[in-house]
């Protein structure tokens, strides 16, 4: 019981961290159909900017300024780069963001160096919030939950309840019509992209001191975020949220499961012995491959349902 409760809590926190990262990406992906490979790189830039700003002004100003800067960077990328590539198709856009990954990484290395930065949780939030079965629940995690919840709420409200959101959704499916009605569609796309990058930057500010701030952080977080977005489905913020929580839970619970396929087969009387590749594969406990389960899940769901879990449109 204790294990389950703690695991649920941990899974929830981890899921919300994933959602923070994935929300920006799903916004861009759903709205513009661009799978932004550089999303994790913007996350990294957000973390580094937050570190530098917090050295000078403190954590809470950095919480505001760094995401805004990332949004501006995103706007710049869209106006001078992505917009020109738009007419060459989705793959060209993908490749463009792909090229950005290398450039951003090297620029970060050149600006801040190659070693991790001492970006720490602010002392104001560095205390245990409550105890559960002897395990602490740090206040910073509560703060993270708060921020991701706010992100979810504000994004949802923006898209579903405001006029701007309506225009954005319309521009997605009928760009020419919306343009004929007098809206500046390219500007809408720029806003969306900048918004996605702002969310990525915000995730970076929060995640950078929760994890570590180093030039390799984009490569570590990148793949899992794509998996979450694709699993959740295109055009669906709710899908992204559900996917994040589900994957967070599964990865967390997997670690506590020490059984392997061989353990399943044993009660059936099939003993696995010997020293071959097959034995190796069958005796792998679930805990060892926990981090791979999201990929397996994604492949499975795409096989049956290419739109993802709650997707509203095809790729």
């Amino acid at each position: 019981m204790e294990t389950v409760l703690i695991s649920v809590l941990n899974g929830l926190v981890y899921g919300m961290l994933l959602f923070m990262l994935a929300s920006g990406l799903t916004l861009i992906f759903s709205m513009m159909g661009v799978l932004n490979f550089a999303h994790a790189s913007i996350y990294m830039v957000g973390a580094y900017l937050a570190f530098t700003i917090s050295q000078v002004l403190g954590f809470f100003p950095a919480l505001i300024i760094a995401p805004v800067l990332c949004g501006l960077i995103g706007a710049g990328i869209e106006i001078w780069g992505l917009r020109r590539v738009h007419h060459n198709g989705h793959i060209a856009e993908l490749l463009f963001t792909f090229g950005l990954v290398f450039i951003i990484q090297r620029l970060v290395q050149m600006t801040w160096g190659m070693l991790p930065m001492a970006y720490r949780v602010p002392p104001l939030l560095d205390f245990p919030l409550f105890h559960l079965y002897g395990v602490n629940f740090p206040a910073y995690r509560g703060f993270m939950l708060l921020v991701s919840g706010a992100m979810l709420l504000s994004t949802w409200v923006l898209l579903k309840k405001t006029r701007v959101g309506l225009i954005i959704q319309a521009a997605l499916t009928h760009p020419q019509m919306v343009s004929s009605l007098g809206h500046n569609v390219p500007q809408v796309f720029t806003t969306v992209f900048a918004g996605g990058c702002l969310l990525a930057g915000l995730a970076g500010v929060i995640g950078g001191n929760y994890q570590t701030t180093e030039p390799g952080m984009a490569d570590s977080m990148g793949p899992i975020v794509f998996v979450v977005v694709v699993f959740g489905g295109l055009g669906s913020l709710a899908g992204c949220f559900v996917a994040s929580i589900v994957m967070g839970m599964i990865q967390t619970f997997a670690v506590v499961v020490d059984y392997s396929v061989a353990d399943l087969l044993r009660p059936l009387g099939l003993a696995i012995s010997g020293d071959t590749l097959l034995t190796e594969v069958l005796t792998v406990p679930v805990a060892r491959i926990g981090a791979l389960l999201p990929f397996v899940m994604m492949v499975t769901i795409l096989f049956f349902r290419p739109r993802g879990l709650m997707g509203t449109r095809d790729a």
Binding site: F137, E214, G216, M217, S220, V255, R288
Partner: protein, 425 residues
Amino acid sequence: MARFEAFGGNMRSLFRRACFAFVALLMGAAIRPALAQDTIKVAYVDPFSGPFASGGDEFLKVFAYILQKVNADGGALGKKFELVPFDDKLQPSEALIALKSVTDQNIPFVMQCTGSNVGSALLDGVSKYNARNPDNRILYLNCGALATELTNELCDFWQFRFTGNVEMRAAARVKALPKDVTKVYLLNQDYLFGQSIQHDTKKWLAKLRPDIQIVGDELMPFGKVQDFSPYIQKIKASGAQSVITGNYNRDLNLLIKAAVDDGLNVRFDTFLAHLIGGPTAIGSAGEGRLFSVTEFDPNVPAELNKPEAEAFSNGWRATHDTDFSEIPFLTMFQMLARAIDKAGSTDALKVALALEGMKGTDLVGAPVEMRKEDHQLLMPYYAVSFTKNVKYDAEKTGLGWKTDFIATTEELTLPTVCKMKRPAS
């Protein structure tokens, strides 16, 4: 286009001519003769670009500092050492291509300090190359590929390892465990290195500390885990007093942060917490609970009362935010210089024969030996803890490494299964 039209025809052609002239000037200025130098070149293959570039980058700086001293002490045969770096991007195929460049340029020594995947490729590559080209042989100086196999099952005459292998570190790690620890949890990364640590730690626990109960033995995906809370939960449930782990960089930093966040009070007996960037990333979270096994740290000379070594370490700290801990690198070049002097040339076979079996002392006066049997450097290890009451802090965090236990060279002279094929001539 209209703006340029307005420039006027004459102005445009003048502008154009000025541009051409400027370019011609630039080209002329760019051509300069290259200077030749008479030095002993040592090729250095490591990642200098991409996500793992921090390793190669830092070591290059360290080598620059070390060579300053070694060259000032006379170099070898009156010549200075010169490093020729090659970027392998942590990929064996790139390292092997770089190796071709090394042999083309007749550079007699190749050095590599990051990654057992590249290390084993180089060992194999050098061995095959020397067998097929006996007139242009080279030596492989292994300064960082830790897999125990490289000086055991895969040992080779042309490889000299100047760093402690996994088994030596595991022995030191186990020896340093306090008597009151009776329950340990093993957590390692799921690839060859982590699995080696797991295997050798269990071996030495059985040998030296049969009283210790292994309450958990876990492998986690390398570099993929973002959230360590479930692992912390398992460790807590097991009742372990110490977590023995070979995790490093991100996998270690996040583990310790999670432990601190969750209020879990266990020892972390690590192997590589002292790797560059570790103290910075972990910070005060590590105080009192972080332990590692290192070749050297800035407090060792003060503890052993060796002013020369202390001055050397301070010379580095004065101009860098990181610490000098790579004492085997210095030992490597000092021994290499002696071997070259003894052999009278840089011929690979002669230097190898001079180098194997060589005994000496390292910077702090501990005895070291390049064992002839397997070409493994026998050296001491210091079991250290991360704490406040030290003379020199680590990476400007306010906390530093304090030596709790010294595993001497003799204690770490472990048997080997190496059956080296020696060349005929």
